[in-house]
């Protein structure tokens, strides 16, 4: 079973620690996405798994075999690079077959596998072209084909779509996902794009500053982020955050900040202390906009003034000020307010998130 294990892996460049105590198991056949901002250590982790970067501390196992000290060619992993790394002087066919030729695979078998990859990735008409004569999307498919024909234990992708334009990126994302599900090859996929992570990953690892923030299925990260970083990173448009305090009033708990008061349900308020300083997180789709300022508004509503409306067709983004806080609501297009309107915004209190002073979920 080709699974991948990282055991207490750290990476230092000189005195700077880039990856710290990284522990992870990638299951056989799983597509695991490493997501995080630029400089969070994603590429470094992938390159350590590939053998292109030395591990400072800890152990990496592929298929239960300790590969920590093995050179890349003895690891049986294939990588799709951000700039594809196709051999410019070779045709597509030669690019696809080189790895097999180097390993002295029989001619017939090489032809079979090249034909198989060519068929799967629709590369047949391109087999005799050089990389320079291909579009970005075609080069991307050749790079995937080159990884496929070797039938490696593990696929690695490092931001493979970042050089493509938006439309092609969405299309290739679907292709990569489909291909991986058919091949069932264990895959580690690195991206900074959380949409890519959410749509592709069986599981997602959110990284910040070389440390794992949270590991889980996409929907788990979305519904139950463990800290403020993950909450803000996963989801578009991003979650609203308001810093404030918890107050006990008549046996119930209220989140209070200037201009924002939300009565919290017991499940969320349980286990919190009174007067605790917290951050309230509300997803834009958990806000409902009612027009007009209602003086006798219910306890879970916020008065606001619209500062910007982004019309997106299906749903639109309403930016409004509630006291000193700039918030964003995702609303359907039927009753959009105008800029300058006073509005009443209702909060789905059962969906809010509370984060303590340390950023962790309370």
């Amino acid at each position: 079973m080709p699974s991948v294990h990282f055991d207490h892996v750290s990476k230092r460049f000189g005195a700077t620690t880039v990856v710290e105590d990284f522990n992870l198991e990638v299951a056989d056949g799983e597509l695991l996405v490493l997501v995080g901002g630029s400089g969070s250590g994603k590429t470094t982790i992938l390159r350590m798994l590939a053998g292109l970067e030395e591990v400072t501390e800890g152990m990496i196992r592929i298929d239960q075999r300790d590969v920590t000290a093995l050179p890349p060619r003895e690891r049986d992993v294939a990588m799709v690079f951000q700039d594809y790394g196709l051999y410019p002087h070779m045709t597509v066919r030669e690019n696809l077959s080189l790895g097999l030729r180097l390993r002295k695979v029989a001619r017939k078998e090489i032809d079979r596998r090249v034909a198989w990859a060519g068929d799967m990735l629709r590369l047949e008409p391109l087999l005799d072209r050089k990389p320079k004569q291909l579009s970005g999307g075609q080069q991307q498919r050749v790079a995937m084909g080159r990884a496929m024909v070797r039938e490696p234990l593990v696929f690695l992708f490092d931001e493979p779509l970042s050089n493509l334009d938006a439309g092609l990126r969405a299309q290739m994302r679907i292709e990569i996902g489909g291909l991986q599900r058919r091949l069932k090859t264990t895959t580690v996929y690195v991206t900074h794009d959380q949409v890519e992570a959410m749509t592709l990953g069986d599981r997602i690892v959110v990284l910040a500053d070389g440390r794992i923030q949270q590991v889980g299925k996409p929907i788990e990260l979305y519904r139950a982020p463990v800290n403020r970083f993950v909450a803000g990173f996963i989801g578009t448009p991003p979650m609203n955050f308001v810093d404030g305090q918890l107050l006990r009033e008549d046996g119930s708990t209220v989140f209070a900040a200037e201009g924002v008061r939300v009565q919290l349900p017991h499940e969320i308020a349980d286990g919190t202390g009174s007067s605790e300083v917290v951050t309230l997180g509300i997803r834009p789709e958990d806000l409902t906009v009612d027009s007009g300022d209602s003086t006798d508004a219910p306890a879970d509503s916020i008065p606001g003034r619209v500062v910007l409306v982004e019309r997106l067709g299906g749903t639109s983004h309403v930016h409004f000020d509630a006291g000193p806080h700039r918030l964003l609501a995702s609303v359907s297009n039927d009753r959009l307010p105008e800029v300058g309107d006073s509005i009443t915004v209702r909060v789905r209190a059962e969906r809010v998130h509370l984060f303590g002073g340390d950023g962790r979920k309370t």
């Binding site: 590939a50 053998g51 292109l52 050179p71 890349p72 060619r73 690891r75 992993v77 294939a78 990588m79 690079f81 951000q82 700039d83 594809y84 790394g85 196709l86 051999y87 410019p88 002087h89 080189l98 790895g99 180097l102 390993r103 050089k130 320079k132 080159r146 070797r150």
Partner: protein
């Protein structure tokens, strides 16, 4: 003429003048000389195609052509190989890398005559450093420059040494253009160091190799100062190069017309050889 064009022409003028005086005029003059007999002193006289006819039947000239080809057949492969190996070595992380690069480049800028004198000493049969080292390790000394079979190879080795720094720089520049992801991709595909060189580095350096072949061919055909200083064209005329023969005709025999004819023939030979080389190795260059 617009001001911009005027200033453009003005700035190009010095170069144009230089070209006119030092390239166009000598070429035209040489072409005229082919049809003249002139000893530098008396008035030149018209000689028709005498010089050309003489050249076609001049055994010494063809001997010099053959010698130059022998020189090139040793020098070219040696030059490419040494430049490549050194460039690959200097492309790695290395202590004192700048120092090594500078050391290999130094002979390029030293005068050819000085290098020739230095190497005459190194090659000297009895007291030369090379032979003393050979003796030290138990071998017999080789009469490098006085044995007809070793003189030209010895000169070829020396010219290679002198120029290698220049070609190393060309290859080092080429190595910068091999994408890192390609190198890592081929490494992950299981290539050994030799396979990486054979399937990626060498083909990716083809444009540089073409340049090195062309430049060292042109340079090699002009072989002169080394045999002139070290062997005088001997032993048994084995190191007599085309340019040395040209020089001898011009300044020892005062046959300016004939010397110019040799010069024009040399230019034609260089053009033909470079053209053929490009046809052979350049056709793969479709990067």
């Amino acid at each position: 003429m617009r001001a911009e064009q005027r200033s453009g022409s003005l700035m190009a003028a010095p170069y144009a003048a230089f070209l006119l005086v030092f390239a166009a005029y000598p070429i035209a003059f040489a072409l005229v000389l082919v049809f003249l007999q002139w000893d530098l002193v008396t008035t030149p006289s018209f000689a028709g195609l005498d010089n050309v006819r003489l050249l076609a039947n001049d055994g010494r000239f063809w001997r010099a052509v053959a010698n130059t080809f022998v020189f090139l057949s040793i020098h070219l492969p040696l030059q490419i190989a040494t430049a490549l190996v050194l460039a690959l070595a200097l492309n790695r992380p290395l202590v004192l890398r700048s120092f090594w690069r500078a050391s290999f480049f130094l002979p390029v800028v030293i005068s050819g005559a000085v290098v020739a004198i230095l190497w005459s000493n190194l090659y000297a049969t009895d007291v030369g450093l090379i032979n003393r080292l050979l003796v030290r390790i138990g071998l017999t000394p080789v009469p490098w420059l006085t044995d007809p079979s070793t003189a030209m190879p010895a000169i070829a080795a020396m010219v290679t040494w002198k120029n290698v720094g220049f070609y190393v720089i060309i290859y080092l520049a080429g190595l910068q253009y091999i994408p890192r992801s390609c190198q890592e991709a081929i490494e992950m595909e299981g290539a050994t160091a030799w396979q990486r060189f054979r399937h990626l580095t060498l083909p990716m350096l083809l444009p540089q190799t073409i340049l090195v072949v062309t430049l060292s061919t042109i340079n090699g055909f002009q072989l002169f100062i080394e045999p002139y200083v070290m062997t005088g064209g001997g032993p048994l005329r084995r190191t007599y190069s085309i340019v040395l023969y040209l020089y001898t005709n011009a300044f020892s025999y005062q046959k300016m017309g004939y010397a110019a004819t040799i010069g024009v023939a040399l230019a034609l030979i260089i053009g033909a050889v470079v053209f053929i080389q490009r046809r052979v190795i350049g056709k793969e260059e479709t990067l």
